[in-house]
């Protein structure tokens, strides 16, 4: 009897672990909260505001997915991850999705077995130095001490850049952006390197942003996007199309202001399909008809989110640049909703 009890317990455990990753959608619904892995704090992308509520460009993606799946953009449990812990958190099922300035690379996609559902920010790696250093180009950084977040692609690009240019440097490994900022401002490193958007975001929080310049060299491609585990295609589709809905909404002029009006029905069948008044896209995803409407209503369309957290009117002050819509010469392109 004792043994059979043990076997039962083990069977239950094995079943439990077996089911844990099979259907993320069911897990999220049952839990009624989305576990979203995000940054430990990077102004503009993901940081708690004065009231302790997480907000930012990456956070908005989490909220859009939560709104689409659970009907409420606030039903998100934010899990702060570092560059080093994020993939373990995702692979182990601690988080349902990762929205944390993560670069889409071959190895992460193929060997680490993750699925990148899209690119929400096209970025590149840059350097920031104090103006007083008198450096105007990354090629003048020979012998410099550079702060670098470990476990990132930027770490690898940095090694390649200095090696390819035949100049030397000394890396100072750090865990989080906050630590990097503190070390950089204390003068423990001459330069700090990360994605150019991250540098702009970090500089915006400095007391005297004008005393620091971001060097003109962009030494890599950093396509940043939300990530899910490989193998759960339904969940991957939900996250992917929730994000595409934000981009498509900007393209078709759906904004948080006119979304109610448009969801009554329009002449444009694609808008109707997105907002659920035509076709059964939501049903195909395993959600209801208004999933995309809720995702867009959560924080607005892609352009609205960009303007709210990163745009030129914010302290971070980033231009749309590559992240303009494809119709305006940029790279942001949502696949057709049909």
């Amino acid at each position: 009897m004792k043994k059979s009890l043990v076997f039962c317990a083990m069977g239950a455990l094995a079943m439990g672990t077996g089911l844990a990753q099979a259907a993320t959608l069911d897990d999220v619904k049952a839990r009624d909260v989305l576990n979203c892995g995000t940054n430990t704090g990077l102004a503009g992308f993901a940081a708690p505001n004065a009231d302790g509520v997480w907000e930012g460009f990456d956070v908005a993606v989490c909220r859009a997915v939560a709104a689409a799946v659970l009907g409420d953009p606030t039903k998100v449990n934010f899990v702060p991850t570092t560059g080093a812990t994020r993939f373990t958190a995702l692979a182990s099922g601690e988080i349902d999705m990762l929205s944390r300035v993560t670069t889409w690379t071959f190895q992460r996609d193929v060997e680490l077995a993750f699925d990148f559902v899209g690119v929400n920010y096209y970025d590149g790696q840059g350097f920031i130095v104090p103006t007083s250093l008198g450096v105007t180009s990354a090629h003048e950084l020979d012998g410099a001490t550079v702060c670098i977040q470990t476990g990132t692609t930027t770490e690898l690009n940095l090694a390649d850049f200095f090696r390819a240019n035949g100049i030397s440097y000394e890396p100072v490994p750090i865990e989080t952006n906050a630590e990097g900022q503190q070390q950089y401002l204390a003068g423990a490193c001459d330069a700090y390197t990360t994605d150019a958007s991250g540098l702009a975001a970090t500089r915006a929080t400095f007391e005297a942003p004008g005393d620091h310049i971001i060097l003109p060299e962009i030494i890599s491609k950093e396509p940043l996007g939300p990530v899910v585990r490989h193998g759960d295609n339904q969940w991957g589709d939900i996250v992917r199309w929730s994000f595409f809905a934000l981009v498509a909404a900007e393209e078709y002029g759906i904004t948080s202001a006119n979304i109610e009006e448009l969801s009554a029905g329009t002449d444009n069948p694609e808008i109707n399909r997105i907002l659920g008044t035509e076709g059964n896209l939501g049903e195909q995803l395993g959600l209801d008809a208004e999933w995309a409407k809720r995702a867009i209503a959560a924080e607005g369309n892609y352009g609205e989110i960009f303007a709210k957290y990163l745009g030129t009117d914010t302290p971070i002050g980033l231009d749309r640049g590559l992240n303009a819509l494809w119709t305006q010469g940029g790279l942001q392109y949502a696949m057709p909703f049909r």
Partner: protein, 478 residues
């Protein structure tokens, strides 16, 4: 008719496995073994299943792949084209370095603090109590972070040295910056082998003289030759060879200088003696020697160079190209170049580990000393032995038997605690193999297994050496 006295042979029944004390313990052990095997089987099976679900295989081939990342502190040659395996070795060596440095300093701090806590001087004893209790009762991570913050925030950046806001110590040879301490490093030329050989010969001669004088002591009671003399023999032979490489003129001039300094020392000491005649003789001797040493040192630093210039200017200074020179750090570009850079992360980790473990060692030392019967120190005092000597020659050797075993586990703790290096960005094995490599290759399971193996082997080695030492010093019972 005879009555059988043999008890009937009991037939074995299943129920006896639990009810009969003869079998019960075996039954319980077998059940425990089965449960353990099942648990292990489940764990392995679960791991294999989860890995296959994630589409991952189990392989150590990543160790041979190019690492692509740089490490700032490396004791062996390494760059971003080296393999992950080599990066792991770099990390292992860094772990060993900080562990070894930490064990040495923690021992020094611990023994001193432990002895001083028992001091009769109220202030000294209380200060040590504050240190020991403070470090023992606050988590190590906080100490590491605090000391790192102190090291990196309270010291100037290298730039400050260029603008004159900060200056180097000891004739511009040591720079304390927020990136670490830059100290002169040795530069060896082929001639350095000769100096090394002279050093070994010196050691041999000193050892031979020392053992001869010990024999003489046993035979006749003459005190053995002093340790200072032994050190002098080694230094003298090595130094002479080193100087002679610079030429005979240089050597003679240098020896002349040395002779003047020694003469200054001897004369000063002799001159000071009468002034100290009311002080007990032992104290007077050491005070006079210390004061004379200071005078001689000042002379060597400030007056000898003037004499040297006066002697060499008329004829031109003899060229001296030493076989072992010092590479003095100099500000070049962004950082100091040349010499050694003891990184701020290493300094912070080293100090924090040493101070923290030192507090525990101090308590071990204190308990060891208190375990030695009071009569031993009283007997030493009755023989007229000064307190310091009775501590080193009577108390501590006996206390060692109590001290050594718990010390071994403190060394183990320190070594394992060094993995907290992650907090200050010190590139130990946790940061290379267990950090960046795992992150860049996604081989968490393999990396963690390797790291666990490393710490296990290292711990067993430390324990082995410690136990060997313990077997040597413990009371031999016959």
């Amino acid at each position: 008719m005879s009555i059988s006295t043999q008890p009937p042979k009991e037939s074995f029944q299943i129920g006896q496995l639990l009810s009969d004390t003869r079998y019960r313990s075996i039954t319980i052990q077998i059940i425990a073994l089965i449960l353990f095997a099942l648990g292990f089987w489940w764990l392995v099976g679960n791991t294999i299943e989860n890995l296959s679900r994630l589409g991952k295989t189990f392989s150590f081939s990543f160790l041979g792949q190019r690492s692509n990342y740089d490490i700032n502190q490396r004791l062996i040659s390494y760059d971003s084209t080296s393999t992950h395996g080599r990066a792991a070795v770099v990390g292992i060596l860094n772990t060993l370095l900080v562990a070894a440095m930490g064990c040495v300093l923690a021992t020094v701090i611990g023994v001193m603090a432990g002895v001083l806590r028992l001091s009769k001087n109220w202030i000294v004893a209380r200060l040590m109590a504050v240190y020991i209790e403070g470090f023992r009762n606050v988590p190590l991570l906080l100490w590491i972070l605090l000391i790192y913050a102190m090291v990196s925030e309270s010291t100037p950046a290298p730039r400050a040295f260029g603008s004159g806001d900060a200056s180097m110590l000891l004739w511009d040879s040591i720079a304390i910056t927020n990136r670490g301490i830059y100290i002169p490093g040795p530069v060896f030329t082929p001639g350095a082998w000769l100096v090394l050989a002279a050093f070994i010969v010196g050691l041999g001669v000193a050892w031979q003289q020392w053992s001869a004088s010990r024999k003489r002591q046993i035979a006749t009671g003459t005190p053995p030759m002093s340790r200072w003399l032994a050190a002098g023999i080694v230094l003298g032979i090595t130094g002479l060879v080193y100087l002679l490489q610079g030429g005979i003129v240089f050597t003679l001039l240098f020896l002349l200088q040395l002779a003047i300094v020694v003469a200054v020392f001897i004369y000063t000491r002799r001159a000071l003696r009468p002034a100290l005649k009311y002080v007990p003789s032992q104290t007077a001797a050491s005070t006079a020697a210390a004061l004379a040493g200071i005078v001689a040192l000042l002379w060597a630093l400030y007056i000898a160079p003037i004499i040297w210039a006066a002697l060499t200017t008329p004829f031109g200074a003899p060229a001296f190209n030493p076989s072992i020179a010092l590479d003095i750090p100099a500000l070049g570009g962004f950082n100091f170049t040349g010499g050694f850079n003891v990184r701020a992360s290493l300094v912070a980790l080293w100090l924090a580990l040493s101070l923290y473990t030192g507090a525990f060692i101090a308590e071990i030392v204190r308990s060891g000393i208190m375990a030695v019967p009071k009569g031993q120190s009283e007997a030493a005092a009755a023989l007229g032995m000064p307190a310091g000597r009775s501590m080193t020659m009577v108390i501590l050797p006996q206390a060692m038997r109590v001290i050594v075993p718990p010390m071994i586990s403190q060394y183990l703790n320190l070594t394992k605690n060094s993995s907290l290096a992650i907090a200050v960005g010190y590139m130990d094995v946790r940061a290379t193999l267990g950090g960046i490599t795992i992150n860049q290759t996604g081989r968490e399971l393999e990396g963690m297994l390797l790291m666990g193996m490393f710490y296990l082997v290292l711990s067993l080695m430390i324990a082995g050496v410690g136990n060997w030492f313990n077997a040597r010093v413990k009371l031999k019972e016959r």
